[in-house]
C-alpha cells in the first residue's frame, strides 16, 4: 500500500522530466540530457539517494556481459525486477556490448558519448587495460553507504572506482574415477596426470588468466614459464574459452581435469550430476581469487540513480541472490548475505585465497601473458 502511494506521487513529480529525458535521448545530443538530469535531481538531498527512494526516477543504463542477463536464472533480471519494484519510477536497461568494457574505453578515446551509467562485471586486468589507454576519467568513485560491508581483501581498485560485488576462486575440477586428486602444482607435471589437464587461453578467458597468474604467484616471474614448459610436456591442452574447455571438452569426457571455479559442485548438485566427475581440488590448499566489480561511469547522466543501484547490489538480499544465481561468493560476509543451503553446502572456499593487487599487476600483466602465450604457441 505504502509503496503504491509513494509511486504515484513520485510519478507525478517526475513525469515531465521523464518525457524531456526521452526526447533528449532520441536526439542523440548529450547537452539536453544533462540539463534534464539536474532538474530531476534538484529535489533530493545529495549523497543520500537511498534514503529518499521516491525521488529516484529515470532510466539507468547498465552495461554488462551477456550471461548476466541470459543465463538460466541469471542475476541480472532479478536485480532489475526487484530494483524497479522498490523504485517504481526507475527503470534498469541492460546493454551487453560484445567487447565488454573495452567498448567504453574506445568510445572515450574516440570522443564518442559513453551512453551508459554503470558497468557490471569489471575485473582488475580490464581496469588496468582501461587505465593504461585513457588519460581522462572513464569511471568515478561513488560514495556507497554499503561499501563498508565489503569483505576485507576483496577491494581491487586502489582508487575505489570498481566496487567488488562478488568473487570466485579458481580451482581444478576433476574426475576422481580417472585421476587422483592433485595436491600441488608439481603433481600436474607428473606422469599420473599426463594428458589430463584442460586450461583456458589467458589472453581471452578470465579463468585461464587467473590460473596463469596463480602460477606466476607460485613460481615467480623467472620460474613460471619453466613450469608451463613442464605442463606442456605433460600434455596440457589450452582452449580459447571456459565454454570450450568446460562445457564442451570436459563435459564430453575428453580430459579428466579442467581449470574452473571452486563453486563447481553447486551446479553439479543443482542439475543432479554425478559427483565423481565434479571433485574440486585446491592446489596447495589455495585458490586464486577473482573478484568482479561494478563501476559508475564518470559521464553518467544520472549518478544518483547509479549510486542507488550499486548500493542496492550490496544489500544482503541482492548479495545472496547474486551469489546463488551467478554461483560466485558474495562480496559481503557470508553471514550477512541471504544464501541458500545448497550454496552453503557445495560452494568451497579455499583455505588460503591468493591474488595479485592492482599495483603488482599494473605494467606487468600484459608482459606475463604475452611471454606465456608465445611460449605455448611458439
Amino acid at each position: 500500500m505504502t509503496e503504491k502511494r509513494v509511486s504515484r506521487r513520485a510519478y507525478l513529480a517526475t513525469a515531465g522530466a521523464g518525457v524531456a529525458m526521452l526526447a533528449g535521448c532520441s536526439s542523440d545530443d548529450g547537452a539536453t540530457e544533462t540539463e534534464t538530469d539536474t532538474e530531476s535531481t534538484e529535489g533530493t538531498v545529495t549523497g543520500t539517494a537511498t534514503a529518499v527512494p521516491e525521488s529516484l526516477s529515470g532510466t539507468l543504463t547498465v552495461a554488462t556481459y551477456s550471461s548476466w542477463v541470459e543465463d538460466d536464472g541469471a542475476a541480472g533480471p532479478w536485480l532489475k525486477q526487484t530494483f524497479e519494484e522498490r523504485h517504481p519510477d526507475a527503470e534498469i536497461e541492460y546493454v551487453t556490448p560484445e567487447d565488454g568494457v573495452n567498448r567504453y574505453v574506445q568510445r572515450k578515446q574516440q570522443g564518442a558519448p559513453v551512453d551508459a551509467d554503470v558497468y557490471v562485471g569489471l575485473n582488475v586486468d580490464q581496469l588496468i587495460t582501461a587505465d593504461a589507454n585513457l588519460n581522462e576519467r572513464l569511471f568515478d568513485s561513488p560514495r556507497l553507504s554499503n561499501a563498508g560491508r565489503i569483505k576485507d581483501g576483496l577491494q581491487f581498485d586502489p582508487q575505489r572506482r570498481a566496487i567488488p560485488y562478488d568473487t570466485g576462486y579458481i580451482a581444478l575440477v576433476f574426475d576422481e574415477s580417472e585421476v587422483s586428486r592433485p595436491e600441488t602444482f608439481t603433481d600436474l607435471t607428473e606422469p599420473a596426470w599426463e594428458d589430463a589437464l584442460l586450461a583456458e587461453n589467458a589472453q581471452t578467458a578470465a579463468t585461464g588468466r587467473a590460473f596463469l597468474l596463480w602460477t606466476v604467484e607460485q613460481f615467480g616471474t623467472d620460474g613460471y614459464l619453466d613450469y608451463w614448459r613442464d605442463l606442456q610436456a605433460n600434455g596440457v591442452t589450452i582452449l580459447d574459452s571456459w565454454d570450450e574447455a568446460y562445457n564442451n571438452a570436459y563435459s564430453s569426457g575428453e580430459r579428466p581435469m579442467v581449470v574452473s571455479y571452486s563453486t563447481d559442485q553447486v551446479f553439479a548438485n543443482r542439475y543432479d550430476l554425478d559427483m565423481t566427475r565434479h571433485q574440486v581440488a585446491a592446489l596447495n590448499g589455495q585458490g586464486y581469487a577473482n573478484p568482479e566489480g561494478m563501476a559508475r561511469f564518470a559521464d553518467s547522466d544520472d549518478p544518483e540513480l547509479a549510486t542507488a543501484f550499486m548500493d542496492f547490489m550490496l544489500t544482503g538480499d541482492a548479495q545472496g541472490e547474486i551469489a546463488v544465481r551467478n554461483v560466485q561468493f558474495p562480496a559481503i560476509p557470508e553471514s550477512e548475505a541471504t544464501l541458500t543451503e545448497e550454496f552453503e553446502t557445495y560452494a568451497k572456499v579455499p583455505d588460503e585465497p591468493v591474488t595479485f593487487s592492482y599495483d603488482e599487476l599494473q605494467g606487468n600483466v600484459d608482459g606475463w601473458v604475452e611471454e606465456w602465450a608465445r611460449e605455448i604457441a611458439g
Partner: protein, 639 residues
C-alpha cells in the same frame, strides 16, 4: 512514333543505368569498407607521422616470422640465416626420406620382421611428413598460419572435387536439394562446429565406438593439427564443390563430343577438354579456401588449442588489449598475403581463359548401377557422411540431451524466450526474422554488385585486373579489423555541424553484409564471363541489341550457374556474419537487430551447451530451408 520515343528513352535510361549502378557500388564500398578499414589499417604506418617502424618490428620478430626475422634485422645476413634454415630442414627431410627408403627395400630389417613391415612403412611415411611439416614453423607464426592454410586447402580440394564431379555429372533423386544444401556448413557458428566435432570424433564419440566395435584401434583426433584441417575442410570443401560444379555444368558438350569423334579416349578428352575448363574454378576454390583458412580464428583454438594459434589469434588479442597499432600491422600483412595471392591468381586466370565458351551442357549420367566408378562414389559418400553428417548429427543431438538425459527443455526455453524476453535478452524468433531479412536484403544488393564488378574485372588490361584484385579486398581483410573499423567510425559516429551522426540499423547491416558477400558473386561469375565467346555478344550488338540487352539475353544466362552459386554463398555470408552484425546491431537505432549466430553466442552460458546448440539447430534448419527456397526460385531463371 510513340514506340520510337520510348525506345529512345529506354536507351537513355540504359546509358545512365550502368554508371549510376557503378557509382552506387563505389559509394557503398567506400562508406562501409574502405573508410572504416582504412582508419584502422592506417595505424600500421602512422605514429605521429608516416613510419614503417611498426611493420618492420613485426617482420623482425622471430616469433612472427622465424627464419625470416634475422634477414630483416640485418639484411646482409639473408643468405646465412635462410641457408641455415634450409640446410637444417632439408637435412631433416633427407634423413626421413632415407629412412623410408631403407624400410621399403628391406622388409626383414623392420622391427617385428616382415609382419611388422607395413606398419614400419607407415611409420616412415609419417616420419617424412613430420619432417616436411617441420619446415613451415621455421617461419614463425606466419609460417605456421600459411602452412595450416595450405594443408586445409589441399584437404578441402580432396574432399570437394569429387563432390563437384558427382553433382555435375550424375543425375539422382535429390541432386538439386543436395546442391542447394552445400552452403550449409558455411553458416555454422564455430562453437556449433566445435560441439559437433568433439562429440563426433572424441574419445567416447561414435567414430571411436564403431572402431572399437570392429576390433580396430581407436583414434585420438582432438586437439591436433589434423582435426583443425578436417574442420577447415568441413567449412570450405562445400565451397570448392559448388564453384567447380558450376564450371563443370557449363563445360561445352560439343567440344567433348568433337574430341571423342576425333578418336580421343574418354580420359584423353577429359584431360584435354574438360580439365582446362575446370582449372580456373578449381584455382578459385583453392584461393578462397586458402584465404579463409589463413585468417581462421575461433575454430583453431576450439579444436586444436593455443599451440596451434594463427596470426588472427594474435591480432584478436591485440585488439583486446587495445594495442591497435600492432593489430593493424598484423592485419596489413595478412591482407598483403591474401591480395598477393589474388593477384597471382588473376594473372593466371587471364592467361588461361580461352574465350570461346558457349553453353551447351552435357547430359548427366544416372547414378544407379554397380561398377568401379560408382563404387568409388559410394566410398566418397561414406567419407562425406563421416566428415559432414556425423558432426552435424552430433550437434543436433547435443541440443536434445541434457545432463540428465534426453530432453526438449532447450527448445522449450527458446519458445519461452520468444514469448517473454526482457531487457537485453535475446528473442529467438526475432533473431530468425532478422537473419532472413538481412539475408534477402544482402542478396538483392550483393548479386547485382558482384555481377557489375565481375563485368568490370573481365575486360582486358591492368585496370581491370586492379578492379579484380580490389574486388576481393573484403575477403582479404581480417573480420576483426572490419568490425573494429566499423565501430570506430560508423557506430561511434562523428559530429557534423553539432549533430552526432551515427550509422546503424538494418540498412547498415545489410550494406555491411553485402560488402562482405559480393566477392563470392564476383569470383563465381568472373571466370565464367572470361570464358564466354565474345563473338556471341558482338554479333548480338551488330544485330542492334543494346549493351544491356546483350547482357541480359546472352551473357547472364550463360553464366547463370555461377550467379546461382555466388548468390547461395552471398546469402550464407549474410546468415553467418558475426563481427560486423553484432556491432551494428548494438549501435544507432536499436538493440533488437541481432541475428541467429549472435543469438547462439549470447546463449553461451554456465554449465550447458544445450541452449546455444538448440539455437544453432534452429539456425541450421532455417538456413537449409532458405537455401532450398532460394535455389528453387533462382532455378526458374536458370534453365
Amino acid at each position: 512514333m510513340a514506340g520510337s520515343r520510348s525506345g529512345r528513352e529506354r536507351l537513355r535510361a540504359e546509358r545512365v543505368a550502368r554508371p549510376l549502378a557503378g557509382f552506387a557500388t563505389a559509394a557503398l564500398l567506400v562508406v562501409m569498407f574502405y573508410y572504416p578499414v582504412g582508419t584502422v589499417l592506417g595505424e600500421a604506418i602512422t605514429d605521429g607521422g608516416l613510419t614503417l617502424a611498426p611493420v618492420r618490428d613485426v617482420l623482425a620478430d622471430d616469433f612472427y616470422t622465424g627464419a625470416f626475422a634475422g634477414a630483416i634485422r640485418s639484411p646482409g645476413s639473408i643468405p646465412a640465416g635462410l641457408a641455415g634454415w634450409a640446410v637444417g630442414s632439408l637435412a631433416d627431410v633427407a634423413t626421413a626420406v632415407a629412412g623410408l627408403g631403407d624400410t621399403l627395400v628391406s622388409p626383414a630389417a623392420a622391427p617385428g620382421g616382415v609382419v611388422g613391415w607395413p606398419s614400419a612403412i607407415l611409420a616412415a611415411v609419417v616420419g617424412v611428413l613430420a619432417a616436411v611439416v617441420g619446415i613451415a614453423p621455421g617461419f614463425g607464426l606466419f609460417g605456421f598460419t600459411a602452412w595450416q592454410a595450405l594443408l586445409s586447402t589441399v584437404a578441402s580440394l580432396a574432399l570437394g572435387l569429387p563432390g563437384a564431379y558427382v553433382l555435375a555429372r550424375f543425375e539422382f533423386p535429390g541432386r538439386r536439394t543436395l546442391e542447394s544444401l552445400t552452403a550449409v556448413p558455411f553458416v555454422l557458428p564455430s562453437i556449433m562446429v566445435a560441439v559437433g566435432f568433439v562429440a563426433a570424433f572424441g574419445v567416447g564419440g561414435p567414430l571411436n565406438r564403431v572402431l572399437a566395435a570392429l576390433g580396430l584401434p581407436t583414434v585420438e583426433l582432438l586437439f591436433s593439427l589434423e582435426i583443425i584441417v578436417v574442420a577447415h575442410a568441413f567449412y570450405n570443401a562445400p565451397l570448392v564443390t559448388r564453384i567447380v560444379a558450376a564450371a563443370w555444368e557449363s563445360v561445352d558438350a560439343r567440344a567433348v563430343e568433337t574430341a571423342r569423334s576425333l578418336g580421343a579416349s574418354p580420359t584423353r578428352a577429359f584431360r584435354d577438354v574438360v580439365v582446362p575448363q575446370l582449372l580456373p574454378a578449381v584455382a578459385t576454390g583453392a584461393l578462397l579456401t586458402f584465404i579463409f583458412t589463413f585468417m581462421s580464428f575461433p575454430i583453431v583454438l576450439a579444436l586444436g588449442g593455443l599451440e596451434y594459434a594463427t596470426v588472427e589469434v594474435w591480432l584478436y588479442n591485440r585488439v583486446g588489449q587495445l594495442d591497435v597499432q600492432e593489430a593493424a600491422v598484423l592485419a596489413v600483412l595478412e591482407t598483403v598475403v591474401s591480395l598477393g595471392l589474388t593477384y597471382a591468381y588473376l594473372r593466371y586466370e587471364a592467361a588461361t581463359s580461352r574465350g570461346d565458351r558457349v553453353r551447351s551442357p552435357r547430359d548427366r549420367e544416372r547414378l544407379r548401377g554397380v561398377d568401379a566408378k560408382r563404387l568409388a562414389i559410394a566410398g566418397y559418400g561414406v567419407v562425406v557422411g563421416l566428415v559432414f553428417l556425423l558432426p552435424i548429427a552430433s550437434m543436433l543431438a547435443a541440443s536434445v540431451v541434457g545432463p540428465e538425459g534426453p530432453t526438449l527443455r532447450y527448445y522449450r526455453f527458446l519458445l519461452q524466450r520468444g514469448a517473454e524476453a526482457t531487457s537485453a535478452q535475446v528473442n529467438p524468433a526475432l533473431a530468425v526474422r532478422n537473419s532472413l531479412l538481412f539475408g534477402v536484403g544482402t542478396l538483392l544488393v550483393a548479386v547485382p554488385m558482384g555481377v557489375l564488378l565481375a563485368l568490370a574485372s573481365t575486360r582486358e588490361g591492368p585496370i581491370a585486373r586492379a578492379v579484380g584484385v580490389l574486388a576481393m579486398a573484403p575477403f582479404a581483410v581480417s573480420g576483426v579489423v572490419v568490425g573494429l573499423g566499423l565501430l570506430q567510425t560508423l557506430v561511434f559516429g562523428t559530429t557534423i555541424l553539432g549533430y552526432r551522426v551515427v550509422v546503424g540499423g538494418p540498412l547498415a547491416i545489410v550494406a555491411a553484409h553485402a560488402v562482405g558477400a559480393y566477392p563470392f558473386v564476383v569470383r563465381n561469375v568472373a571466370p565464367l564471363l572470361a570464358g564466354l565467346d565474345r563473338r556471341l555478344v558482338e554479333s548480338a550488338r551488330a544485330l542492334g541489341a543494346t549493351r544491356n540487352r546483350a547482357l541480359v539475353d546472352i551473357e547472364l544466362p550463360l553464366v547463370a550457374p555461377g550467379i546461382a552459386a555466388g548468390a547461395a554463398f552471398a546469402f550464407a555470408i549474410s546468415i553467418g556474419e558475426f563481427d560486423s552484425t553484432v556491432l551494428l546491431a548494438s549501435g544507432g537505432s536499436g538493440t533488437s537487430l541481432y541475428t541467429m549466430p549472435v543469438a547462439v553466442e549470447r546463449f553461451l552460458g554456465k554449465q550447458t551447451l544445450g541452449r546455444p546448440t538448440a539455437m544453432g539447430s534452429v539456425l541450421l534448419a532455417v538456413t537449409a530451408g532458405a537455401f532450398i527456397v532460394i535455389d528453387r526460385v533462382g532455378g526458374r531463371y536458370r534453365e
